[in-house]
């Protein structure tokens, strides 16, 4: 579904991604883990078109999307739930969701948007309760739900999430990861970037480990969870053994 070859990207003179290759197949949850500043978010921003790729290829369902604007990429069925949620704070929950359905509105009609709205509100009952509330007044966890719901409104074939657990309390984080599992059960494909590597690997099928913009390791989640190097660097296990 998504295939990336030798991708290069960065900000200004700063090169963040160096010759990165990876892929995502339909129906998978794939996670990308790495330290702060390793280039995880940059990768998602590049795929979604917010950053222009400087080299390499991004193929989505066989089409090259590396040079497209973000709004075009959404129309092709690839949605991003951005880091820090980025809801339209001054608009109501319902308005947020309707705007997420813009793609459907353009492709089909308003009825398709309303259908999608029902589906998303069914998925997140809490949002139905808050329908008329301004998005900026929601709690962090609710905003994250809204951001995911808004992305789902476009009926994407691939949904990418950038650090959905950031700044949320453990209980809420648990809910978010349950949602991700449910999304896959409903046939969605998910590409997940997470600081919380352990939780991410637990729900994912496969994972990629990146370090300073380069791929250092990839494999099935169980394999990565068991890898001692990954445990030491990202899962926080094994310090006692190493330092004593």
């Amino acid at each position: 579904m998504l295939r990336i070859r030798n991708l290069e990207s960065g900000y200004g003179s700063l090169k963040v991604l160096r010759k990165l290759s990876m892929h995502v197949s339909p129906g998978e949850i794939v996670t990308i883990i790495g330290a702060n500043g390793a280039g995880k978010s940059t990768l998602l921003r590049t795929i979604s078109g917010q950053l222009r790729a400087r080299g390499g290829q991004i193929l989505f369902n066989g089409d090259e999307i590396g040079k497209l604007a973000p709004e075009k990429i959404v129309f092709m069925g690839c949605s991003l739930v951005p880091e820090g949620r980025q809801v339209f704070a001054t608009m109501t929950v319902k308005e947020n969701l309707i705007l997420g359905g813009y793609v459907q509105y353009r492709k089909k009609k308003m009825s398709a948007v309303e259908e999608g709205l029902e589906r998303v509100l069914g998925l997140f009952p809490i949002l139905r309760e808050r329908e008329g509330q301004l998005a900026g007044t929601l709690s962090g966890g609710e905003q994250q739900m809204l951001a995911i719901g808004r992305a789902l409104m476009a009926r994407p074939t691939l949904i990418m999430m950038d650090e959905p657990s950031m700044g949320l309390a453990p209980l809420i984080v648990k809910g978010i990861f349950q949602t991700i599992v449910r999304l896959r059960e409903e046939g969605n494909t998910v590409l997940l970037v997470e600081q919380n590597a352990r939780a991410a690997l637990k729900v994912a099928d496969r994972g990629y480990v990146i370090e300073t913009g380069k791929l250092v390791l990839e494999g099935k989640s169980e394999y990565l969870l068991g890898d001692s190097e990954v445990q030491r660097a990202y899962l926080g296990k094994g310090y006692t053994e190493i330092w004593e």
């Binding site: 709004e71 949605s79 951005p82 608009m91 309707i98």
Partner: protein
Amino acid sequence: MDMELLLLYLVAGVTYGIIYAIVAIGFNIIYNTTGIINFAQGEFVMLGGMTAVTLNAFLPLPAAIVLAVILTMAVGALIEIIFIRWLVSPSVLRMIIITIGISIVVREAALHIWHEGVRALPYFTGNEITSVSLAGVRMSPQVLWVLGICSVMVVALNLFFHYTFLGRQMRACASNREAARLCGISAKNMVTLSFVLSAGIGALAGCVISPITYVQYDSGTGLAIKGFAVAILGGLGNSMGAVAAGLLLGVLESFSIMVMPTAYKDAIAISIMLGVLFVRPSGLFGSREAAKLKEF
């Protein structure tokens, strides 16, 4: 003090105030979608008035106004497409200078087309000496036209922004441009639309006010500055605040004539603006929190 005179000042203040508010709303529309203060905003008002006067020479008044508004909207679109659209994240300083440049060029072009003459559209109904009496105050019917049309504009804009998909798209861009793009909304088209819209309301305001104030190639500048003062007073980006602030400034200015020479009228408006900027940059009606978020 003569009660009738006071009311007269009040009506004059409200009339000017609502025009300032319309100009301020024009600022706000563009500011909200782009983060740019369009220093050429006053030129839209001037262009609307001037074009309508010219067209009125061979077209009936309503047709001339409609056509003038459409032409000004086209100019707004052109300005955005030629000068703004292709810039990649320009600095605020750069945008300030570009829009100032545009305002100068438009003004000078107007000077060469229409020369320095002062013009005006005919009164929409009646003439200079007709007056209607409302609640004991005698006023020109044109004042009612100004108040009526501007009020309709404010209400219509509000409905547009809150109840149409297009309006919501514009608000989404204003709220969070990147997130709007991630919803598939073309932020660039929204920016063009914001220029078209603010050119349109500016031009219409220019038409309705011209019988009272007259227009000249350089009448945009003064209005733009008042409009900006009002936008600041009302809280940048807050259109309802702009209406309140517009009326307030218009009335204050109108009464200031009683104690100060007319020559200092503008200076007073600007002093009020500076005072607000220094003490409460979020405006009288804007929330401080929101202003903090918008700091640039």
